[in-house]
Symmetry: C2
Subunit: 302 residues, 2 copies
């Protein structure tokens, strides 16, 4: 499980040579965090493997090897939440169709105890949801204390598809960036650590993946003819993503761009970012609020 | 992964010698299903390993080996639910403290894709919940189409602790058995397949497990002095379980008694029951509702 930075030239990868320890201590977040200022996703390599050197097989094994550690930290956070702690994590996954939001949940979150996860997949809002503010349904899905929430798409769709497809007027969506920042600041203040990941694939990789879905009858249910319509608006979506990431990339709720043409890297990277986040929160096993010796006696008497 | 019935004498285990295939085809459910009529849990061996012969290590490996198959079937059910299907599964887990409801979810459900799970842990009802009927909060947690719901405790607590602790009058709890049967019949009619498992441990095993929690500071958060108080009412709880299982053991919503003194067997058994249930539902990959060849051409043109 070597974690040295692979020698690919990617504009936004700082020239850090991370040792395994450094990466585990926060290094990958440093490598993938979007710097403040204008965002141009075309300068980010979708096939990069920043922070990891090794083969695909190495990467799959490295992910499996994270399982014990990440689920141990997850349980500590859960225990803290059951014992008066008021912290949680919210992983926001965004990306174009086939970028692998579901794959990250299956393979990364799947390493953890499902009891400690709160996963919400946001589809087009229902008529009832539309009659409320766009953040209404998002608020319902915020993870409770001790939980790791995962959003498969999110409130960002309200400045992505809503903007590209003109589902609302520019006067409406243009106000939403500030509304999102206010909302996220409120979450952070209430104990939620936000981890926002954009799963970055190339249009060529998307074509391959959609084609593979069409070739495999067990994957037809994942395909929708509308996927090609959206695909044809790729530049518009990129423009919307640039604005969303740039305007909502705050120090307390930063964006990460995760190169995602390589599925194994994507899964490892998001899981590593989660692990680093958990370790930074450093939840401790709650101490007993009862007299252990006395309880042992009571128990022995039964 | 031998699955022959172990030669333990347990009153309610029919003398079936199940081959691996027979067990996988529904055999374990046959072995563990509670027969109609009066229920006496003292006649069920808590250390039995019905349907499995092998060591603890074999059992852990057998569980791991179920992972690929159970998650494949889970995805088929999920795909069906996304494509117009109206079926789901609801696993109800009941058992005394430390019987391993959480362990089954962690180790059994943990093999599946968390996106397809809806897990609800029921604690003591809040004042707001108490002001509604006891089934109100249960209905909120019923899994949607294509999902596998898991209840860690359930509406059965309303005829268990509510009866033992006299949280309501006998006139109230005595009516609940019929209300539960009506509710469950309604669920079944609406496409929910119910799998109700009682995780059966001995009082001796519970003492060992509570003692182990007291000895391990990383487990103190799971311990509550009230656990010993509940433990002292063991015979009352058994009486309440007998009534609940007997009166709510319907052909469409049967109870299974899962011997749970051996954690590895318990996890394997519940997961196997889920797998058998999925295979019986036999969800198929949805067929394309679009023209595949046409879509391939459209995609190639982008």
């Amino acid at each position: 499980m070597a974690k040295q930075k692979k020698g690919q030239k990617v504009a936004h990868e700082p020239a850090v040579t991370a040792s395994a320890e450094q990466t585990a201590d926060g290094g990958l977040r440093e490598l993938l965090r979007v710097p403040a200022g204008p965002v141009d996703l075309t300068t980010y390599d979708t096939r990069a493997t920043a922070g990891f050197s090794g083969t695909k097989e190495d990467g799959k094994l490295a992910l499996e090897n994270l399982g014990a550690e990440v689920s141990d930290w997850q349980e500590r956070l859960f225990a803290e939440g059951r014992s008066g702690g008021e912290r949680s994590i919210l992983l926001v996954l965004q990306g174009m169709d086939t970028s692998g939001k579901g794959g990250v949940i299956r393979h990364g979150a799947g390493l953890m105890d499902p009891q400690g996860l709160k996963i919400t997949s946001f589809k087009a809002p229902t008529p009832a949801e539309k009659r409320r503010g766009f953040l209404w349904r998002i608020r319902q899905a915020v993870p409770g204390y001790g939980l790791i929430g995962i959003f498969d798409r999110s409130h960002y769709e309200d400045v992505l598809i809503a903007r590209v497809r003109e589902l609302v007027t520019p006067a409406v969506w243009s106000k939403r960036y500030d509304q999102i920042n206010d909302f996220e600041a409120e979450l952070v203040a209430s104990g939620v650590t936000l981890v926002k990941c954009y799963l970055h694939i190339s249009p060529e990789e998307q074509r391959l993946r959609l084609d593979a879905r069409l070739d495999d009858p067990t994957k037809h249910w994942k395909y929708n003819p509308g996927d090609v319509d959206e695909r044809m608006l790729w530049p518009d979506y990129m423009e919307a993503y640039h604005a969303a990431i740039e305007r909502c990339n705050t120090p307390q709720a930063p964006w990460y761009v995760v190169p995602s043409d390589r599925k194994w890297y994507r899964n490892w990277a998001v899981t590593t970012i989660l692990l680093e986040t958990l370790k930074e929160l450093d939840p401790q096993w709650p101490t007993a609020d009862f007299d252990v010796a006395k309880e042992k006696k009571r128990l022995a008497a039964t």
